[in-house]
């Protein structure tokens, strides 16, 4: 296996050194993607931190192009969170695999990527510069600059200033090379727009390299519930996850580590595991677990029959939230939001699918121009998935729907934005980049059902719009004849023409009462997205 080869040298280097050599593993491959990854790391950190601190999050991202040729950019990320205490600054931003999110297993966005420290590292290896941090934490404002010692995977932190102040939050300024800003689907702008859609309680401000300010305003003044902590389920683990957990564990033996760390892990299951893995010493210090061992354990996990994980730890975005944010950002003519009931995949891992379908308005991609095309926004636990769309279960589902059945000649050219979020304590991503969801049949089906449910409502809407337009058209067609007909009927009956004309106009207006239709249309729109789970 290629992975085994890659990681065979693992113990000879620090984590930082390893990632320095394999930066594509952090999402740093391709200039546009690299920049989006950097912004992603900062924004998700801000969102997760604000949620934990129960603060309505404001994030500002500023990009400055310093040199086009070398792809040299300055990135500034600012939030209004609780800041970072001085003693954790180095760990959070200058030590690989040490972010706060690794301490617990909860549904958070940060499942992807390698954290803000990865950006610090990337800045360091492309520009040789340090990253500047300003943190306002509990009345103290600290300015510092830091970089990573690759040999030890420890941060070098240099405090620049300390002062008292009420401001809380975090400002990170860093410079990187070899990146590129554009407005493509995989670019920063699209990433932030989608993040805003999935996080309506957040206000995102983006200052692009042309100094243009884009604001994605907050649409809901409600902080989402703090995710409950749940122990990870063994089936949800990947080798690197297991390594992270083991190396940070405080238990003395692997036996204890397994028992304490995972849900549904009874003594008898640990015993089963031991029997499957006779070559591994279960009394060893978890911190000394080796990559190849972790790999074997993950394989053994798949062979054991587990009780399914609990659904308690899953937090979908919520129907109202999706509705509000899609209206806020897309101003669609029609919107359907579907929240499906929890389902399970791979024999036991629960997940929830949410589908938002916006039609018309600014839905679709080139909504400002004349040509419209549909847009599929994929999310995993609220984090936008911008890359590797081709291999993603969500795209597979979109493709599998027969859109003609819902009155669309072609889904591609329709003014549609499909927003699909999959929530789970463990999302089966396809690769290290964590940008595509594996084509688990249960997930593909469930997403498909959600889309179909939304599409049915859209179809009803399109039909009623067509009907109303037809009605208006019919009425106009008849009204234009009223004058002539009244004149002739007047001549035949010797009754005054204006009298006939008035009566006839009234009659036609009543028969083709389009106000009634418009009302119906409005009602149809309002009913458009009522949540009802089962297909």
């Amino acid at each position: 296996m290629k992975n085994d080869d890659q990681f065979s040298d693992f113990k000879e280097h620090s984590v930082a050194e390893f990632f320095k050599k394999n930066r594509q593993m952090l999402g740093f491959s391709g200039k546009v993607r690299s920049l989006t990854t950097i912004v992603h790391e900062y924004v998700t950190n801000s969102l997760d931190a604000a949620e934990e601190a129960k603060i309505l999050c404001d994030v500002t991202i500023k990009l400055e192009e310093l040199d086009k040729e070398t792809g040299h950019y300055k990135i500034t990320a600012e939030d209004n969170g609780s800041g970072i205490p001085e003693n954790l600054m180095g760990k959070a931003l200058g030590q690989m695999l040490a972010g706060t999110k690794f301490h617990r297993y909860i549904q958070q966005r940060g499942q992807q990527g390698i954290g803000a420290a990865g950006v610090t590292m990337y800045s360091q290896i492309t520009t040789g510069k340090t990253t500047k941090v300003t943190s306002g934490y509990r009345g103290k404002i600290i300015e510092a600059k830091l970089n990573i010692d690759f040999k030890t995977n420890k941060a070098n932190v240099e405090i620049l200033s300390k002062e008292e102040g009420d401001w809380h939050g975090l400002i990170i300024e860093t410079e990187v090379k070899d990146v590129k800003y554009d407005k493509s689907v995989s670019g920063v702008y699209e990433y932030l727009k989608r993040t805003a859609i999935a996080n309506p309680h957040t206000q995102i401000t983006f200052i692009d390299p042309n100094n243009e300010v884009h604001i994605f305003p907050r649409s809901i003044e409600k902080i989402p519930p703090k995710p409950e902590e749940v122990k990870p389920h063994p089936l949800g683990m990947a080798t690197n996850d297991l390594m992270d957990f083991a190396h940070r564990d405080v238990n003395k033996t692997l036996n204890q580590f397994f028992f304490e760390t995972f849900s549904r892990m009874s003594n008898s299951k640990v015993k089963e595991l031991r029997e499957l893995l006779p070559h591994i010493n279960f009394k060893k210090d978890p911190k000394k677990l080796e990559w190849s061992e972790a790999d074997d354990i993950i394989r053994a996990f798949q062979k054991i029959k587990w009780i399914a994980p609990s659904v308690d730890g899953i937090y979908p975005i919520g129907e109202e939230q999706i509705r509000t944010s899609m209206i806020n950002i897309l101003e669609p003519e029609f919107l359907a939001v579907i929240e499906r009931k929890p389902k399970i995949y791979r024999g036991g891992i629960p997940f929830i699918v949410e589908v938002g379908l916006g039609y018309g308005g600014n839905s679709g991609r080139n909504s400002s121009g004349d040509v419209s095309s549909s847009d599929v926004m994929r999310f995993g636990n609220r984090a936008p998935l911008l890359f590797d769309a081709g291999g993603c279960a969500i795209n597979e589902s979109v493709k599998s729907v027969d859109w003609k059945r819902y009155g669309l000649k072609s889904m591609k050219d329709a003014p549609i934005t499909l927003m699909i979020n999959i929530s789970s304590v463990h999302i089966p991503y396809t690769g290290a980049g964590k940008q595509a969801i594996a084509m688990e049949q249960e997930i593909v089906d469930e997403v498909r059902f959600g889309i179909m449910e939304a599409a049915r409502k859209m179809q009803a809407h399109i039909q009623s719009v067509v009907k109303t337009k037809e009605r208006i058209h019919k009425k106009k067609a008849i009204l234009r004849y009223i004058h002539q007909v009244s004149e002739d009927l007047s001549y035949l009956s010797n009754i005054a023409s204006f009298e006939i004309e008035n009566l006839l106009s009234k009659l036609i207006e009543e028969k083709y009462d389009t106000k009634k239709d418009e009302k119906e249309l409005e009602e149809a729109m309002q009913n458009g997205g009522i949540t009802n789970g089962e297909n």
Binding site: A477, I478, R480, V485, I495, L504
Partner: protein, 365 residues
């Protein structure tokens, strides 16, 4: 009388419609369907008529609104013609109604005559009147010679026409023989209808109508509405009607249109059909009866064969076994015969032939 009737019918229709509107209903009128499916042969009367299928034309239906408006425009215009005692053709009517519906409406009341023609028929059927009653005339076609006096009131003047004193040209049958037209005197034993004008001229020169005391009429091919209506009126005066045409598809068609009415004019039914008419010739039997004719036959054209085989299937034709035999002979021998062939031996032979056949009651039903 007819005209007052027509005016009343137009007025009543207008009042009915306004009444409907006042009740909050869309104005409408019903008219029997004139499509093939609704054309029936009335065995009792021997006439092609419209069946019971009606069609409702209502203004508030977007698919019918324009036609409704156009029909009312025609009705109003016809009322005006009748009131003013002025006549025009259906093309003249079309031009009277070809105008824009309004400055900001890029639409004409009528844009093609093909739009107004069927609506005139709608109105005829809906009100049970003929277009002639609306003072709509068609081209004159058909000539009469014989002992008949016609009183013609036209353009405010009354003229008496003697059909026996029209020399070589005969009296030209107008499109309307009902309104302002009266048969004042009639002295004839029967009516002879001759398909071709040339044959009529031949018989007129022979003084056939004088010798035989009959009315000699040519429709000049297919009989016009006016000619058929005149024949109907003459049949009402108990005159036998004999029809003399070629023995071919066109000739048969002329005869049957006179006798039972045609599909196109089925809506006029008994008004225009003459079930009493008899077919005098030329027949296939004539070929054996008159030796010389066997050398004067023509090979039947595909259209004649096709027509003959179709006719055998028409219920109003195959009820007569004589016609079935006649048509079967045509299909077998694949021959046809023109009435002109009877001039073969000598020019005056036609008259002799006709007189003989009529005397012998030798005709097809």
């Amino acid at each position: 009388m007819e005209k007052i009737n027509t005016l009343e019918k137009l007025n009543n229709m207008g009042k009915d419609m306004v009444g409907q509107i006042k009740k909050g209903h869309s104005p409408y009128f019903t008219t029997p369907l004139r499509s093939r499916g609704n054309i029936k042969f009335d065995k009792e009367e021997g006439v092609l008529k419209l069946g019971k299928k009606d069609e409702k034309r209502t203004f508030a239906n977007v698919g019918q609104a324009r036609k409704f408006m156009q029909t009312m425009a025609i009705a109003a215009k016809c009322k005006k013609f009748v009131e003013e005692e002025l006549h025009t053709s259906i093309r003249g009517l079309y031009y009277q109604l070809k105008f824009s519906l309004g400055e900001n409406l890029e639409e004409d009341l009528f844009s093609e005559q093909s739009e107004s023609n069927p609506l005139i028929e709608d109105l005829e059927v809906a009100l049970d009147v003929k277009r002639e009653d609306f003072n709509l005339s068609t081209d004159r076609k058909g000539f009469v010679a014989g002992d008949m006096l016609i009183e013609d009131t036209f353009g405010g003047e009354k003229t008496v026409i003697d059909c026996g004193k029209q020399g070589r040209s005969g009296w030209s049958i107008p499109s309307d023989v009902d309104n302002g037209m009266k048969i004042k005197e009639l002295n004839a034993d029967y009516v002879l209808v001759v398909e071709k004008d040339a044959m009529w001229q031949r018989l007129n020169e022979d003084k056939y109508w004088k010798k035989q005391n009959c009315l000699l009429i040519t429709p000049k091919g297919q009989a016009s509405r006016g000619t058929r209506r005149l024949l109907r009126k003459l049949a009402d005066k108990k005159l036998p009607i004999y029809v003399f045409t070629d023995c071919d598809a066109w000739g048969w068609y002329i005869y049957w249109a006179i006798k039972t009415g045609s599909m196109n004019l089925a809506y006029l039914g008994t008004e225009i059909a003459v079930p009493e008419a008899r077919f005098i010739g030329v027949t296939m039997k004539d070929i054996s009866d008159f030796d010389f004719l066997s050398k004067l036959t023509i090979k039947a054209k595909p259209v004649d064969i096709k027509r003959a085989s179709e006719m055998i299937d028409y219920p109003w034709i195959n009820r007569h076994k004589e016609w079935v035999n006649e048509l079967k002979t045509v299909l077998r021998t694949k021959q046809k015969l023109e009435q002109d062939a009877l001039q073969g031996p000598r020019l005056t032979f036609v008259g002799e032939y006709l007189a003989k056949k009529i005397a012998n009651n030798d005709f097809l039903p």
